[in-house]
């Protein structure tokens, strides 16, 4: 990423075909040049090489597909997507490059001649009482989280003997939110296994009740809420963990909201707890009555509010693992780009620590008034692109690797671009220059 002060977004050719109807989100495959866009009752998978349709998932849901997630860590010829729908079910779909043989051929319907035959709806995950808003695979692919207007988060585990044996069990139903749960996100793997305090899988959920909750497995198969993040003054539309944490800190969490703001939260880690890890390890809590385990145990503080860049609900934001830059988008049709200023660290650290200390003294959940961080000096808006989808609302934006012909071959799979998805049914890549 060039560090020129004049950062701007240059539109690249849009993905073909246009969808001509509201599209909700576009999710890049974790390793392959594919992008899955949820729109109406289906998902269209685009190729990032040709910027055109690769395949589509249709006829699996009675109502709109709101969200989709790729199952990670599969061999390259196998694809697996989960779709979350307003029909209150989640569908698990598989696509196999190799011929599935006789058994599959019998089921091929004559009307589904083209793309459809490749994607097969394998399992319908049934359990939520109303619309599913978001689905998300854990980094290892072992767990799937779903959330719904029914205020619950469900965690499903793949207990099948192998990849082709799809057997999914509900391992947790988390009912602590007071409103629709709008989004769920798993913390990336952190390579912090030496720190006994943390289990590997950490989930965060964002809600219509204006809060964010952090969930951990307690070592005894129980998923517990360890923190409630309060501060947003409106529905929290979504959240993303810091994809590439800096230094030794636990990954930060970015959240965005109907209150038009984007916030960054960080865990206040206590040194003595780190040192005494074995005694405080989550496994050690097994003997504690579950009523006590339910109380939040981690201090999460709002470390920054990104400078204001939007005038309406922020519907999406995305944090780059490569550049550390954040992009956000909104009902106002703007795509804003932010950079965290590294050089300001020496000056601001003292202030931040003082502020963090003040915040840290007050647990996030007890309703006491707490100091609100000012718009952070360390985050700067480096570009704002109005009318990125003309007059239409933009529902989603994501960082994504480039594989298209317009990108020099040596940079394919390395250089990043943004992809925005709007009410106009257009999925548009943007080059950041």
């Amino acid at each position: 990423m060039p560090s020129s002060p004049m950062t701007k977004l240059v539109p690249l050719p849009v993905f073909k075909p246009d969808l001509y109807e509201r599209a909700w989100q576009s999710i890049p495959h974790p390793t392959l040049p594919l992008l899955a866009t949820a729109h109406q009752k289906s998902v269209t998978v685009f190729s990032l090489s040709t910027l055109s349709s690769h395949s589509s998932l249709t006829n699996g849901h009675e109502r709109s597909v709101r969200s989709t997630t790729w199952k990670p860590n599969l061999p390259p010829h196998k694809l697996c997507l989960v779709t979350g729908s307003f029909d209150s079910t989640a569908g698990l779909w598989r696509w196999d490059d190799q011929d599935t043989g006789g058994g599959g051929a019998l089921e091929v319907e004559i009307k589904d001649e083209k793309d459809e035959k490749d994607w097969e709806l394998i399992v319908v995950l049934d359990g939520h009482d109303s619309e599913i808003k978001c689905v998300s695979f854990s980094p290892g692919g072992q767990y799937l989280a779903t959330c719904s207007r029914d205020k619950s988060v469900w965690i499903w585990e793949d207990v099948g003997a192998n990849e082709s044996d799809d057997e999914w069990e509900t391992v947790a139903v988390l009912n602590e939110h007071d409103g629709d749960v709008k989004a769920v996100a798993w913390c990336p793997e952190t390579n912090r296994s030496g720190r006994g305090r943390y289990s590997n899988d950490v989930l965060a959920s964002a809600s219509y009740d204006n809060t964010v909750r952090i969930w951990r497995e307690d070592g005894d198969g129980e998923w517990v809420c360890v923190a409630v993040l309060e501060g947003h003054d409106g529905t929290v539309w979504g959240l993303q963990w810091e994809p590439r944490p800096q230094g030794q800190g636990f990954p930060r969490l970015m959240t965005w909201s109907a209150d038009q703001s984007v916030r960054i939260w960080s865990l206040q880690e206590e040194e003595e707890m780190e040192e005494a890890a074995p005694q405080h390890a989550w496994g050690g809590l097994s003997g504690v009555p579950s009523t006590m385990r339910r109380s939040p145990k981690e201090d999460w503080v709002c470390a920054a509010i990104l400078p204001k860049a939007h005038t309406r609900d922020v519907y999406a934001a995305t944090w780059s693992a490569d550049s550390g830059m954040v992009a956000s988008t909104s009902s106002d049709g703007i795509i804003a780009l932010y950079r965290e200023e590294e050089e300001a660290e020496t000056n601001d650290t003292a202030d931040d620590e003082a502020a963090a200390e003040l915040d840290g003294d007050v647990p996030m959940t007890n309703g006491h008034p707490k100091k609100e961080p000012e718009a952070s000096r360390r985050w700067k808006v480096v570009s704002s692109t109005p009318n990125a989808h003309g007059p239409y609302e933009i529902n989603h934006v994501t960082w994504c690797k480039r594989y298209d012909q317009g990108c020099p071959p040596e940079k394919r799979g390395i250089e990043e671009m943004l992809v925005s998805t709007g009410d106009d049914g257009i999925v548009r890549p943007w080059q950041v220059v």
Binding site: E21, S64, F86, K133, R149, D180, T311, G390, E393, D423
Partner: protein, 200 residues
């Protein structure tokens, strides 16, 4: 079922502010032609904003000499929506009122078709605990989103102090995802279609 408000105050249709031609008789007949005329003036069909037509935006018609939409136009688009429980319009029941419609920036300022224009409609439910307030608000939002150009952002709220759970209703009506899901609910869709029957 029992109506929430069996005896609402009803305004005479001739007292309602309108730019619509009444010489054809009742207010229920008039709007047909006039609303279509406004839709024509907008240069848009009555399909919802997410159903994009291929010629959209490039039409010289839509951008060129488009007349500006003012509060009265908005009122005329929603005042003939039928109340879900009374055989009367939202205008007649004074659920929608011309002074409670705001357009920002003001329609006097000429704007290009990409400039966001906010239409804020504050509705007054007939009684403070009216359980149908959300449905009425949804009807107003859906009606306006159907006919207004895509640079319009429609915000529907309960007028302050007229409803006991106005915060909850406002939050629901502002939630794009909930509105989208509600429109896929067949029962609710049926109620809304009936409310909007008298609109063009």
């Amino acid at each position: 079922m029992d109506k929430d408000n069996a005896n609402p105050t009803i305004l005479n249709t001739s007292q309602l502010p309108t730019r619509q031609n009444r010489k054809n008789g009742s207010a229920l007949n008039g709007p047909f032609t006039n609303s279509s005329a406004l839709v024509h003036k907008l240069g848009y069909t009555s399909s919802p904003p997410w159903e994009i037509s291929e010629s959209d935006g490039t039409d010289s018609d839509a951008e060129g000499d488009m007349e500006l939409i003012d509060e009265q136009d908005i009122y005329d688009l929603i005042s003939n929506i039928s109340d879900p429980e009374h055989p009367l319009s939202l205008g007649q029941l004074a659920v929608v009122n011309l002074p409670d419609i705001d357009i920002t920036p003001s329609p006097l300022v000429a704007a290009d078709p990409n400039t966001l224009t906010q239409v804020l409609v504050k509705i007054t439910p007939t009684i403070t605990h009216c359980s149908l307030a959300t449905v009425i608000g949804l009807g107003v939002r859906v009606r306006l989103e159907k006919v207004l150009p895509p640079n319009y952002r429609v915000d529907v709220m309960i007028k302050e102090g007229t409803h006991s759970q106005d915060d909850q209703v406002n939050k629901q009506l502002a939630d794009k995802e909930r509105v989208a899901a509600a429109l896929e609910n067949d029962t609710l869709r049926g109620v809304l279609d009936k409310m909007l029957e008298k609109c063009a």
